[in-house]
Structure formats: C-alpha cells, structure tokens
C-alpha cells in the first residue's frame, strides 16, 4: 500500500471523516487536526490496510480512536456525538427525531449514526467500535425501539391537553 493509495482514500473518505470527527470530537480538538492525525496514523499502520476488509471502516476506526484520545486528553465526560446544527430549518418531525436521538445513550447514538449517516455495514461498525457484530445489531435494534418509544410518548403528550 503506497502513499498514493492513502491519498486516494483521503480524497474518497476525507469529507465523511472530517464530518464525523467534527460532530463527535469537534469540541475537544480541531477536526482538521484530527483528520490529519487520522491519516498520519493510517500511514504509520498502512500494512494493516491490506488486511482490512473495508478500508472505509478501517479509517473510521482510526478516526474514532484518534477522537477518543483527544477527548481523553481534555477529560470531558460529555456525549460523543453532536447532532447536526441549523435545526430550525428542518421539519418538525425531524426536529422531534433529533431530540429523540439526542436523548439516546451515547453508545446507541454512535452506533446508529455509523449505520444511518456513514452507511457502514454491521460488520464495518463492529470493526470500527471493536465489538461483535451481534452487539452492533442488538444496539441498533435497541436504539430504534427507544426512538420509537420516545416519539410515541411525545406524540401522545402533544395530543393530550
């Protein structure tokens, strides 16, 4: 795996990675620096890239590790994932969904985001988070059920006077 291939990966996944890093760890470090560090780590460990089933998942795994390291340095105990901003322009349903997602436990929210936003497969999420595939599936199902419960409870409370 040469530097040119890493550069190709940078162009292909850099935008998604910086977005992920900004939302997840942007409060602790500049996303550009985290992205930079992610690819420096990728270059250092590029031998492992050939063994990785999915280069995208491999890069997300490194980015997550880099972000968590930055977060640990700042000793923040806040949630990992920031939700998209400019919510005022969105439809009410999406507003409600964003609130519901924000209320999810951190691990469920992160797993869900990797699936729905980054469109990683269950196996890739397992690789990024270093957990079994069954745990990924279980977390996603739990997250979906919780979201449904939260939204139903909200709808019900709005209907009642």
């Amino acid at each position: 795996m040469s530097t040119r291939n890493i550069e190709h990966l940078y162009r292909a996944h850099g935008a998604d990675l910086i977005s992920y890093l900004r939302r997840g760890f942007g409060r602790w470090a500049a996303p550009e620096d985290l992205l930079h560090e992610t690819f420096v780590q990728a270059l250092r460990n590029q031998d492992r890239l050939t063994q990785a089933a999915s280069p995208r998942a491999w890069l997300f795994g490194i980015a997550r590790h880099v972000g968590l390291t930055a977060a640990r340095k700042h000793r923040h105990a806040d949630s990992l994932t920031d939700l998209p901003q400019h919510r005022d322009e969105r439809r009410p349903q999406i507003e409600a969904m964003l609130d519901a997602i924000a209320s999810l436990p951190e691990v469920l929210r992160e797993t869900m985001e990797l699936r729905l936003r980054e469109q990683l497969s269950y196996e890739e999420i397992a690789q990024v988070m270093q957990i079994p595939v069954g745990t990924v599936r279980s977390r996603l199902h739990t997250a979906m059920k919780k979201l449904r419960e939260i939204l139903e409870a909200k709808n019900q409370s709005e209907r009642e006077p």
Partner: protein, 165 residues
C-alpha cells in the same frame, strides 16, 4: 414466524441490512398479514432518522498532509538506516571481539609445545645427548684430536709431529 424474529427482520430491513432477496421474501410475507403496517412504520421511522442525521453539505477537507507524509517517510528511512548501521556495527564488534579473544581462548598448555618446537632446534641440538649436532660436534672433536699436530719451528728444519723431533 416468531414475532420477535419477525420484528428483528423488519428492523434490519428498515436499516438496510437485509439482502435484497430476503427483503423481498419478508415483504411478500408481511403483505398478507397485519405486520405490513408495522413494517411501514419502522421504515418511516428509519427514514426520518436518516434524514435527521444527514449532513447539510459536504464538508471541505484540507489539503492532503504531504509534508507529514514526507516527514514520516524520512523518519522511517532514517530509522531503518540507523537500525541497519547499528546491526552492522554490532556484527563487526562481535567479529572483532571473537577474533581478539580466539588466541587466549585456547588452553595455555597447548601453546607451549608450539613454542618449544620452535626454540628446541637451537638448544636441543647442542644439549641433547643423542642429537645429531652434538654427535657431529663430538665426532669432529675426536677426529681433530686423532690427527697429528705438525710443528715447523724453522724454515731450515723439517716439520715435526707433536713437537717431537
């Protein structure tokens, strides 16, 4: 089908994690049952979540860190070169050490006969009682003693043996 299994399949389908053929089978199964409504609700929920999580625009990324790559390459090359040099020096050091240690490593007594064999001909030829040098020296001495000694005291006289006239 088990309700829990069906729900899991429906959620997996909504999350887009089912293979297409399995999804079609599930859709066909749910179409004729009361689960169709539930299936659509899960799909709506997932769609809304997906929309909520979608980024508004693609983020601009900084330029690829070429400088960092160069630094990394340089470091890697330097480390490899230093390692090779260290290994080479270590090998040379070991070789020199073994070379220097080799003569003293052998038994001391084993070296003595070598020295003796080198020195021996000079002294042993004279000292040894059966040595050829000594026997030759003795033979020459006895021959010289056996030969008559001529004395010629005056040019007008005839030479005499052993000084006896």
């Amino acid at each position: 089908m088990n309700e829990q299994t069906l729900e899991r399949l429906i959620i997996d389908e909504a999350l887009g994690a089912l293979p297409p053929d399995v999804g079609e089978l599930l859709a066909a199964y749910c179409a004729n049952t009361t689960h169709e409504r539930e299936r659509q609700e899960w799909q709506r929920l997932t769609l809304t979540a997906r929309e909520a999580l979608q980024p508004r625009a693609t983020e601009a990324i900084p330029v690829f860190p070429v400088q960092a790559v160069r630094v990394l390459r340089f470091r890697r090359t330097a480390v490899m070169a230093l390692s090779a040099a260290a290994a080479l020096l270590f090998g040379i050091g070991i070789g020199v050490h073994l070379h220097l240690a080799q003569p003293s490593a052998g038994p001391v007594l084993a070296a003595q006969p070598t020295n003796a064999s080198v020195v021996a001909p000079a002294t042993a030829g004279v000292l040894d009682i059966w040595s050829s040098n000594r026997l030759l020296a003795v033979a020459l001495e006895s021959k010289r003693e056996a030969q008559p000694q001529w004395r010629w005291s005056s040019p007008v006289d005839q030479p005499q043996i052993g000084g006896v006239r």
